[in-house]
Every structure is written in structure tokens, then in C-alpha cells.
Amino acid sequence: MRVGLLLPLSGRDGTARDLGRRSVQAEAAGLDLIWLEPEISAPGDGAGDALVAAAFVAPLTAVIRIAACVDAGAHPVHIAEQAIVADNISNGRLVLALRGDTEAAAMLAETLDLVIAATAPSPFRHRGARWAVPGNIAANVSEDRVSVTPQPAQLALPIWVAGSGGASAARERGLSHVSGAGVGAAEAERTWRATEHALGRVSAPLRRPAIRAVTASPAGDFDDEAVVAELRAESVRWGLDVTILALPPGLAEAAHAHAVERIGSLVRPQLQMYAPPVHLLEHLETKLRPRFPAVADGEVPA
């Protein structure tokens, strides 16, 4: 299983300025990706552009994948252009996750169609309910089709779909849907069974990501065995294969670093095999777990 870390974008509580350090920590812990997510409820707080944030953390990191969660709404050609620039800055490490709730499902669907076309190599033309590209406005000199340039660094930019309005839009386009933190295993299973039914073997190459909250103490401590057991169960039940772990908001910096180390050294290793042998788990128990001792609530680890 791939294991990543959710990094919220908010200008209010200082996490924006912590973003670079936290991205470096996630990479140092051996995690597979970071998920940069603007808060839906905080428009105008000045930190909501996940693609600018991705471009910012890219030069600070070398290998970790950077997933940028972008709400549908902006002109899709601009979303595509920003994503292409971020993908090139990161030398091909970007995942673009487009998000929309149920009310915005139509806009999300059209955004997906346009972003898919605009990040592909061929010139394209789009006529939709909301956008026309190119506009072919009489007063302009215009072309029949346009090419968005440059191309992404990757031959095909990975595009995921998130939000309550995203499951059917993802399925119709053969894309991965990201199960949200509030979506339980039962609903995720229903979604993926429907996708398998609709797409058949076409669904096999799709990653099956989910955001999952970690219940951690203020010191950043959590029950890694319980987390591993839950994720393993979801993996078996519906094929969860990319877990984006969300730590509680407001963790102090040392507590956050402690939690990320625990994810890297205790959670992720146990999820790299279907059934780690008992002697390996005993080794983790006796050698590794003492390095990351359980810390009492309110106590900051050294």
C-alpha cells in the first residue's frame, strides 16, 4: 500500500508557513505522497491554491509525489496550465486531484473534460455548458483548436477526482475516485463495486485512494497497530491502495514530526506485505516501537 500525508492549506493557523518543513519531513519519513488540500470552509483566507503550494514544495523535495487538491470553478485551462507548470517544476511528480461536491457535479464533469484535453498533447476544441475553448469570438483572430503549452513532464498527468460529486464523474472517464475522510469503508466498497461493474477490466489499473483520519494525542502519539489493522481491512475489502493519512489539526510542530516518524517507521512498513511474518512483527515490537514510545497526552516528545 502507498501511504501519504494530508497537509492542509490554511493561512490562518500558520500551517502555510510550515508547509515546506512538513513536506520535507514526509519525504524523510519515506512516505509516498503528500496531499495538499485547501479548506473548503475558508475561502479568502489566502492560502487556497494547492497548485501554487505544490510548485512551492517541489524544489524542497526530490522524490515524493505531490497531490494537489483543486476545487472545480476556475477556468479549466488555467487549472491545466498551473498543473503543467507544477509538474515540470517537480520533474513529473504531480497528481492533480479535482474536487467538487454534489451541487457542483456538472461543473466538475466539464472541468475534468477540459483539463484532460488541455494536458494532452493533441490540439483540442471544447464546447460545453460553461466553457468554450477556443471561444471563436467574432472580434478576435482565432483558431479552430488550441494547444496548451508546455506539456506536463509526465507523458500523462495523473488526474484523480475527489468530493461528493466525483464518483460517477470519475467512473465515466476511467479515473480514480478519492474516498473522502467522511466516507466509510461500506460506501467506498459500493463505489468501487459499481466501478468494476461498469468498467470491467478497465478498472484494474486504477489506484484506489482514500483519506483516513488518524486519532492522535496532542503529543502526536497514536495506536499504530489499530491504524494498520483498519487499513489492512479496507485493502482486503475494497482494494484501498493509496492511503492519505490526516493528522488532527493544531498539532504542535514537535508532535507533528513525531506522528510523521511513526507513520514512516511503524505504519507504512507493515502495509508493504499482505501478511508480514510473525518474527518481523516481533522485531518491530522489540526494536522499533521503543524508539517511538507512547507519549502521555500533553507531553511533547524529546
Binding site: 502555510a16 508557513r17 492560502a47 491554491d49 501554487v52 524544489p59 517544476i89 471563436n136 478576435n140
Partner: protein, 320 residues
Amino acid sequence: MPDVGVGLWTMRSTAARPVHAAAAYAALTRDALHAEALGFHSLWLAEHHFWYDGWCPAPVAAAAAVLSQTSTLKAGTGVHLLPLWDPPTAATAAETLVALAGERLYLGVGLGYRDEEFDGFGLSRRTRGRRMDAALDAIALRWNQEGRGPRVLVGGFSAAAMTRAGMRGLGIFLPFSLSRAKLATTIERYREAAHEAGRTPGMVGMLKYAWVTDGSSRQREAAERLIAASALEYSGCWFELNGRSGFEEPELLARQLSLATANALIGTPDEIAEEIAQLDEAGVDLVVLQVTRDDVSADHRHAMEAMAGALFPSSPPLSA
């Protein structure tokens, strides 16, 4: 001495200087560290859309790469084509970068002029002035009043541009084609517009082609040829001259290119430093030296080092 920045990183992969886009952006982050180490004030990016060479279409995202590894260097856009963007999208991008990197973003904004770019976004080019005014009122005035966000400089030198900037108390970003003779009256017009609106004039920035020589006339002539060559493809394809593309109007194109060479800073590093000091007396607060060469083979890093030695004599020498 005004602040001195370097520009313009266009991220182009031209026929004359092909480069993979990812390599160009990797070089951008290296150049940003280099510019900061040399003592330059800022590094400036540009924006265009839908062109074969991959000209950077999202300069604020590119500016994020400039600012993430540097600590004092500023990043500027020279210019961000604001009428092509919805104001909330442009504002969120800029505000995110300020939240991440601090007050180190200078947002030079311009109208844009190529029909195909407006058409790609479903906009009529004829609306560009109105869209610029609406965007400045929605974004820049708010940033100004709240004392946060990037510093905004309005690009151009027309009376309309000077009024647009002055009446809102925003800065200006003058193009390389503005002659020394017209510089004083242009800045005066801008200041009058600010005072008439009861505003304090903002920062005066200016782009200048710069080329380091040994001071000889032979190298000056070569520099003029190379500056013209470095602007040829862009001017020939993009500028509408007499209603046609520049390449179809060779005489007008040559005159356009002569504007670049006539107003360029060409000479030894000390001579260039002296000319920059004179711009200070004319009221220019920030000079952006055009040192990148997208269409000719010349190393901007060498030019940056040579000019930094004359401009910032107190800065520590770079280790070899």
C-alpha cells in the same frame, strides 16, 4: 542606486535554444539561488499562452519555485496578463504564495495583446481594459487597503496605463522600449494621476536590456546585433505592425528591434552601473535587467556575475 533585479525568465524552448521544460524549470530554481547569492533584488518571470515554445503560462506558480528555496530574493511578474484570469483565481494564487513565502511577490500586470490568447479563454480582446480595471479594483485595491498581498505594478507607459496605476496608488512597470527622453514625462504623468486622486505614487519599475562588453565599439556593435537577434522571433511573430505580423513588415520590424537596442544598457559593468545610477535620478526605483537570451547563444549567468561585481561591490565574492 535603485534596486536591481534580473529578468525575464520566460521558460521558452525556442528553435534556437531547445530545452526540456522540466530542465528549464530546474534551471530557474538554480538561477534564483544564484541571483540571491550575487545580491540581486529580484528575479522576474513572464507570461504567454498557447505558443510552440512553451512560454510560461502560469508565472505565479513559477514564482513559487523561485521563492521556496530563497530567503530574501523577491520574485516578480513582468508581466502577469491579468485580464486573461478571473480575479478570484489570480488573487488566490498570489495570496497563497504570499502566505507561503512572505511579502516577496511583485505582481507586474499587463493587458496582453494577442487575440489568440484571449480567444483561448473565451474572451474578446476588446474587453481587456475593462477587465483590467475590474480586476485591479477587486484585488489590488483590497490588498492596498488591507496592507497585505503582493505589491502590484501596472505595466506599460501609455497615458491610460499611468492613470490606471496612479489613480489607485499602484506602482508602474515601464517597458524596455521607453526612451530616456520620454522617461521623465511618463513618470511625471503617473505622479500627477496619483496626486489628482489623492494617492501616494507607488514604486516605479523599469525593464532594460543589458549586455556586458569590454567597452570596445566592436563588442558594442556585436551586442546590438545579438539583442536584436534575441528579440527577432518574438517581435516578428507576436507584434502586429501595420495590421500584419512583424515578419511581413520587415522595415517596421527593424524599427521595433532598434527600440530594444537603442534603449539598452550596453558597456562595461561599471558603465552599466553608472547608467543605472542615472535612472535613479530620473525617478526609477527598480531596474530589471533583461539578461536572459531565449534566441541566441549567450550565457546569462556570466552576465549576472559581471554586473553584480560592479553593482554590489560590498557583496561577498562567490566561491568558485
